[in-house]
């Protein structure tokens, strides 16, 4: 039955997945095991996205199924165990820009690939990135932006990280609508990621997990 949940979730069969969880919960199974299987299903979703078998709607839908499963399991949880994470990443859409679709996809992919992502949200001032890096000690920072105004915000964010004396402690990636390698150079970031998978590869490389 464990394999069933992994596969039904990976195959995006919402109703079936929910039924399996319901049955397993009423059979008194350890909720942590159920969550673990759901997690494995999500890893397969991530892999299928990486190989272009799945697209953004599939990610969004799998996220909804996972949310439903988590909500069912949560009340039964007595203890939480932290699964081992590859490393920490601070992520956000830079100041002036309120777009979140692209950012959310990369955060999602980092998460299913085992990173501990600290998602700051949208329209994030440079100082907030700095504060979060200090607080978490994350070695990887992701700056997202859709509009051309984000070029300068990203540049200012990288400069603020530098001014805080943290530049040699973190690697910075940028991504979103009008970003490119030219803009990477302009902002002083370390890399530009063309899509969510590129973001995951960069994080893995920098954290030494690839």
């Amino acid at each position: 039955m464990a394999q069933d949940l992994v596969n039904t979730l990976a195959d995006l069969k919402e109703q079936e997945a929910i039924k399996i969880v319901k049955d397993r919960l009423s059979a008194g199974e350890d909720p942590l095991k159920i969550l673990g299987d759901a997690r494995k299903g999500m890893e397969i979703v991530g892999k299928r996205f990486a190989s272009s078998e799945y697209f953004i709607p599939d990610l969004v839908y799998s996220g909804e199924i996972l949310k439903a499963v988590t909500e069912m399991v949560k009340p039964k949880l007595t203890k939480t165990t932290e699964s081992k994470k590859l490393g920490k990443v601070v992520f956000g859409t830079v100041a002036g820009d309120i777009h979140d679709i692209g950012k959310d996809i990369v955060v999602f992919m980092l998460d299913v690939n085992g990173f501990e992502v600290h998602d700051l949200g949208v329209d994030i001032p440079a100082q907030k990135f700095v504060d979060k890096i200090k607080e978490t000690g994350a070695p990887v920072v992701g700056l997202s932006g859709f509009l051309t105004l984000a070029f300068d915000s990203m540049k200012e964010t990288v400069e603020a990280i530098k001014a805080a004396g943290l530049r040699d402690k973190v690697k910075v990636m940028i991504g979103g609508g009008q970003m490119s390698d030219e803009i990477k150079n302009y902002t002083g970031a370390d890399a530009y990621g063309k899509d969510a998978m590129a973001g995951v590869s960069l994080a893995k490389k920098w954290i030494g997990a690839s």
Binding site: V60, S180, I183
Partner: protein
């Protein structure tokens, strides 16, 4: 005239609309007076060049060049986007300076900023605009949300007008909350229904909503007064406005501002039949909207901003099932009435090119952003004129030489045999002026057909 129109073929209708564009009216409805015979010649020359590029029958005298900015003219003139949305004179000043300084063959007019005051009166929720949710010095931006709930497809399908007035407007405009109480007007079919059905119009929330409606209308009139005078002046100086109005692909109607990105994506799995039915229901409405825009403005090009069909946003199968059929139907409906649909393929559409080339030749005009342009030329480019592809990042951080090289390469790749217009690929805010000049100047110098 009416009868004549009905008897025309779609080719003749397109030609008639081009002719109307060629002989423009001013904002008072009279024949536009050009500044001089030279500017009249320039105006007609620009339209002829654009028309030849679109129709793909005749080689234009040179590759045309468009500039399609978002708030760049405001920054360039030293005002904020906020000022351009609230001070119509300043807005007109900025956009005039932009047109006269850069001299593109075609441009979008001064419509982008719109009226901030009317949005305030209506308490608009769907967008954040400068000073309202985003800082005064940045562009307006959409607030993603489910402005139509998952269980409201039937309401939309059964009666779209009623859905928009009673459900959608109160949700999107805070000041129109009272419209929730509006009656369904079919109740007025009999005399005794009149009194009953007019009761809601006497209620304070409904009257307050209408008050906001009228105030916003007054403000919009004030705005169009300024913009209309601006149009007269800019047209008279020889610079045609390329867009008559807009319509949308039905999938984007639902995916952008009704169900939202996430909502529409989930509906493809959870209620695909309802989604398909709604797409069909919206199709004739979007055709009508586009034709109306072309007829009112008196020119054939109708803009279609495309969003959720881009690479990755749908699988190939989903694109073919949910996005393309009704999008194509809207375009074909417009084409039948002589309208030239102008879809803007924002972002990357490289994986869609094979599908979207299924169109009659010389009837559409596509804005291409970051799609593989060489591949686009070999597919879509066989049947449709394309414009765009000069990247925003290049305009911001590039040099005039780099822009020049890019534009030359673009012309070499795409302009052979006609059917291509140089332009920026995405609506831009920030840019170096010298780079924008390089786009126009390189095209005018290097794009001449010999």
């Amino acid at each position: 005239m009416e009868k004549q129109w009905a008897e025309m073929s779609s080719d003749e209708k397109q030609e008639a609309l081009f002719q109307r564009w060629m002989a423009p009216k001013d904002s008072q409805g009279k024949d536009l007076k050009f500044q001089s015979p030279q500017t009249e010649k320039a105006y007609k020359g620009n339209i002829t060049r654009i028309k030849d590029a679109i129709q793909m029958k005749k080689l234009p005298d040179r590759v045309p060049v468009f500039l399609c900015p978002s708030f760049f003219p405001a920054y360039y003139a030293g005002i904020t986007p906020q000022e351009s949305m609230y001070d119509y004179d300043k807005c007109c000043m900025a956009f005039k300076k932009f047109i006269l300084d850069f001299k593109p063959d075609g441009h979008l007019g001064a419509y982008v900023p719109g009226t901030g005051k009317a949005l305030e009166i209506l308490d608009y929720k769907l967008y954040s605009w400068p000073g309202h949710g985003v800082s005064p010095d940045v562009s307006y931006q959409a607030n993603e949300g489910e402005y139509m709930k998952a269980n409201e497809y039937d309401a939309l399908i059964d009666d779209p007008s009623n859905f928009f007035s009673n459900i959608y407007l109160p949700r999107v405009f805070g000041a129109l909350e009272g419209f929730k109480m509006l009656p369904t007007l079919t109740g007025i079919l009999e005399m005794y229904g009149v009194a009953l059905n007019f009761i809601p119009f006497g209620l304070p929330p409904v009257q307050a909503a209408y008050k906001a409606f009228f105030e916003a209308g007054t403000e919009a009139l004030k705005w169009i007064g300024a913009i209309g005078a601006w149009n007269d002046e800019i047209l008279a100086a020889g610079f045609p406005i390329i867009v008559a109005g807009f319509t949308k692909a039905p999938f984007d109607v639902i995916g952008d501002t009704l169900r939202g990105t996430k909502g529409v994506m989930l509906d493809m799995y959870r209620q695909p039949d309802k989604l398909l039915e709604a797409l069909d229901r919206l199709t004739p409405l979007m055709i009508k909207m586009g034709i109306g825009a072309a007829q009112t403005s008196g020119h054939p090009l109708v803009f279609m901003p495309l969003h959720k069909g881009a690479d990755g946003f749908l699988s190939d199968a989903q694109f073919k099932k949910f996005y393309w059929p009704t999008f194509r139907k809207v375009m074909m409906g417009l084409i039948a009435e002589g309208v030239v649909p102008m879809p803007a393929a924002e972002g990357r559409w490289t994986t869609r090119l094979e599908v979207i080339q299924d169109l009659p030749k010389g009837k559409t005009l596509w804005m291409i952003d970051q799609s593989d342009i060489a591949k686009a030329k070999k597919t879509l480019g066989k049947v449709a004129c394309m414009y765009g592809n000069v990247p925003s990042d290049l305009l911001v951080v590039g040099t005039p030489q780099k822009v020049k090289d890019y534009v030359k390469n673009l012309i070499n790749t795409c302009a052979k045999g006609g059917g291509f217009i140089v332009s920026n690929g995405a609506f831009f805010d920030q840019a170096k002026a010298e780079n924008v000049h390089a786009v126009v100047d390189t095209t005018k110098e290097y794009g001449v057909y010999k």
